[in-house]
Structures are given as structure tokens and as C-alpha cells.
Symmetry: C2
Subunit: 240 residues, 2 copies
């Protein structure tokens, strides 16, 4: 065990922050950490939009489905897949391939995770805001994202004003397979379901009686943002 592993294993999403600002030099370090992540063929197809404008914060909070911490966190960053930079370098770039959407998603996530872990290692907390994908077209318009830029997710950062419990994850032997894909072990799933039921019971003071399987059934009975394909296409992504 070392500080890095301790930081990683202590992760909880933080959604309530004190009013304390993040010093400029700390923010600079977080961005340097983001930049240090691996990048597919060194293509570096990620841009980060830092939102300082209070009105834009309010609107993004609304677009994300009414997540107030998007407006109130010390910092809010939008991680974007960005091939516009490349198109400025090579105007006839061959773009629009699904592969580039995957690279954009993966590289954005690698940078963001470096940024979040660095923040957490310094006593800050944060949370990913996938909810920006509720209204990708509006986010693009608000941030003046040109073609070939797509907002993958946001991230709130600030000094924690809450201390939530660790959320139990699927056990390692359900996640890790050896040499071949292995079907789900029903017994281990049942154990995890019981663990999650207990976690929600404690966290909500008995108000939520839900297993992980219950959650999954609820989520996957609904369409998953069926407009995303269209929004990606509109920005020039995932066309072929």
C-alpha cells in the first residue's frame, strides 16, 4: 500500500463542496496530470473547457438534469473529444470514423482520471457528470464547440463538504476473467446484491430497498439517450 493506491481505493464521488476556491497553482497541477496520460498514437485529441462563467454554470447544471453541484463546485471542467485542433493543422483530415469516437472517449477518460486522482490525492473531491450527455447539442452551442469536438462528460471539483461511505463494487472474480469470457456466477451476484441492498439501506436510513440487479433492471428497461448517435453525427463523429 502506498499513497497512490490509498488514494485510488478511497474514491467516493463528492457532490457537496465547501465554498473554498481551488488555488490556481493546484488547478495547473491537475491539468498537468491530465496531460501526462497515455494518448493513442500520441494523437492528443482532448480539450478541457474550464467553466468560470456563472451563467454558463447554471445552464450546464440544468442541461445535466438539475445537478446543482455543477453550478456550485469550485471548478467545473468539460472534457471533450477534439479533432478540430487536428483539422486546423490538416484541413483535409479524414475524420468521422467510429474509431476516432472510441479514441476520443478513451483518451478523455484517461486524462480525466489522472486529473481526478491528483485532486483526490490533495484532499479535493469530485464527480463525473455524464449528465451533460442529456443535452449534448445545447452544451455544444453554449461552449461554442465547433465541428469535430464533442463533450464527453464534465467533472466537478472542490473541497469536500461531505464524507460518504465507499460504494461496494462488483467483486473481483466477477470482473476478472481468465483467457475466456466467463458467464456470470449467480451465487456471487446474489452476495453482491445483498451487499448493495445493505449499503442503500444504511445510506438512505431504510428508505431504499434495492439490489444492484434491481438497479440494472431499471436502467436497462429504458432507452439509453437515443439521441446521442444524432448529436455525435452533428458534430462530425461516428459517421462511419
Amino acid at each position: 500500500m502506498n499513497q497512490t493506491i490509498e488514494t485510488i481505493l478511497s474514491h467516493r464521488s463528492i457532490r457537496k463542496f465547501t465554498e473554498q476556491a481551488i488555488p490556481q497553482e493546484v488547478l495547473a497541477t491537475l491539468i498537468d496530470c491530465a496531460r501526462a496520460a497515455s494518448s493513442s498514437s500520441n494523437i492528443q485529441c482532448v480539450s478541457v473547457i474550464r467553466i468560470t462563467d456563472a451563467k454558463k454554470r447554471e445552464l450546464l447544471s440544468e442541461y445535466a438534469g438539475g445537478q446543482g453541484y455543477v453550478a456550485s463546485a469550485a471548478e467545473f471542467l468539460v472534457f471533450c473529444a477534439d479533432f478540430n485542433r487536428h483539422q486546423q493543422i490538416k484541413p483535409d483530415s479524414r475524420l468521422g470514423f467510429m474509431e476516432q469516437t472510441l479514441i476520443g472517449a478513451v483518451d478523455s477518460a484517461l486524462m480525466a482520471q489522472n486529473c481526478l486522482l491528483a485532486a483526490e490525492s490533495l484532499g479535493l473531491g469530485g464527480v463525473y457528470i455524464g449528465g451533460l450527455r442529456n443535452n449534448p447539442d445545447k452544451v455544444c452551442e453554449l461552449l461554442n464547440l465547433p465541428e469535430n469536438v464533442f463533450p464527453m462528460f464534465g467533472m466537478c471539483l472542490g473541497y469536500p463538504d461531505q464524507d460518504p461511505a465507499l460504494k461496494p463494487r462488483l467483486p473481483a472474480d466477477l470482473i476478472l476473467h481468465t483467457d475466456n469470457y466467463q458467464p456470470l456466477d449467480a451465487e456471487k451476484l446474489a452476495e453482491y446484491d445483498a451487499t448493495m441492498r445493505e449499503y442503500y439501506d444504511i445510506r438512505t436510513g431504510g428508505k431504499l430497498d434495492q439490489s444492484w440487479s434491481d438497479q440494472i433492471k431499471a436502467i436497462l428497461s429504458k432507452e439509453a439517450r437515443p439521441f446521442i448517435q444524432g448529436s455525435l453525427n452533428k458534430q462530425g463523429f461516428a459517421k462511419k
Copy 2:
């Protein structure tokens, strides 16, 4: 500066490893670190396939375009977007949405980056293998990946037998925008191009005379794995 930030800022991709094995308890810690990453709505749609079979390693090394370290690294992990687990829980799950492909890519990357950083913090090294996407259909077949599972990328891990220089990244002010997307600053790009030219000159003993812009122009003059859309569809992803 702390150990986490130091680890993050010291990242270099390692492609040459000693023959030393990674102890089982270390591997278990790395997987625990992967599991601790954020997950969109706690959906946990990632599986990791650990490849121990030497023949499969050889084939994956070939599928990845002849990257020998895929075969020789102490460990090779394949990070997959996995909604098959969910379909086993809810057979009539609504799947195939592009949004789920994005979640799968992002969540795989968050887990993988936790795993890599934890490894690096312990003196191990590693490299992402996006090259698995050269032959996704063959990878799926080899690892018996069922529908709704897609191999996003691999990762080699082991004890480093090389000590490469840090690769310079795009400067922070080209990556970080404020409130609006900002067009590329030509002067700063020229500086970075000069930095990268020098880096390659030193790294290759004068054999490679190439700027970052040169690299980008070469990459984006070619199609980007145009078969990825088809392979994703075949596995049940990105259909709508």
C-alpha cells in the same frame, strides 16, 4: 507534490520488460484499484480478461499488429465493455445504443487508468494496446466474447527493462480552454512542434525528423480503422 502526482507525472509507456513475474497479490491489488473507479450510474459495464495462455498471447500480439511485448509482458489484460453481464440479469435489456458504447469506452478507460497508475506506483510499467482494435473480430473469437462484449484495448504490465524519456505533451494552454472553445494558437503549436522534433531527434539518434504536426498529418491522411463500426455492430454495440 505527493507520491500520486509524482507517479502520474512520471508516466512513460513501457514496452520492454524483465522476465520477473507480477506476484498474485500485486495483481489482485491492481484489479481492486480498477474496481474502485467511478462508473456511470454504477452500471459497472466492464470486464477484464487476463491472458495467461501463451498461444493466445502470441495470437493477440499478431492481431495487434506484431507488438511482441503483448506476448512477452508479465501480464496482459484486455479491457472490455461488457453489457452481457447485464443481459444475463435482464434478458430483455434495451441494448445497442451508442450511449452505451460511450459508457463502455469511458468506464473501461477509468478502470484501466487506475490499474496502470497503481502498477506504476509500485515500480511496474505498462502500455495500452489500442492495436487490438486492428482485429476486433478475431479478438472476440479468440476470447469467446459473447454478444454485448467488445474489447476496447489491452494493457501490458511488467517490471520495466527500459527507461525511456518523458514524451512532451501539448502545452496546457492548448489543452485548456475557458468558457468557450478557443482556436489553435499557431505560435504555441510551432513551439510544441519544435519540442517534439527535438525529442524524436534525440530518441532516434538523429534518424527521425518529425514534428507533432507532421505526425498528425500522416495519421489523418489515412482512414481510421474503418471496420470498427461493423465490428461494434456485430457485437451488438453502436447500432442506434
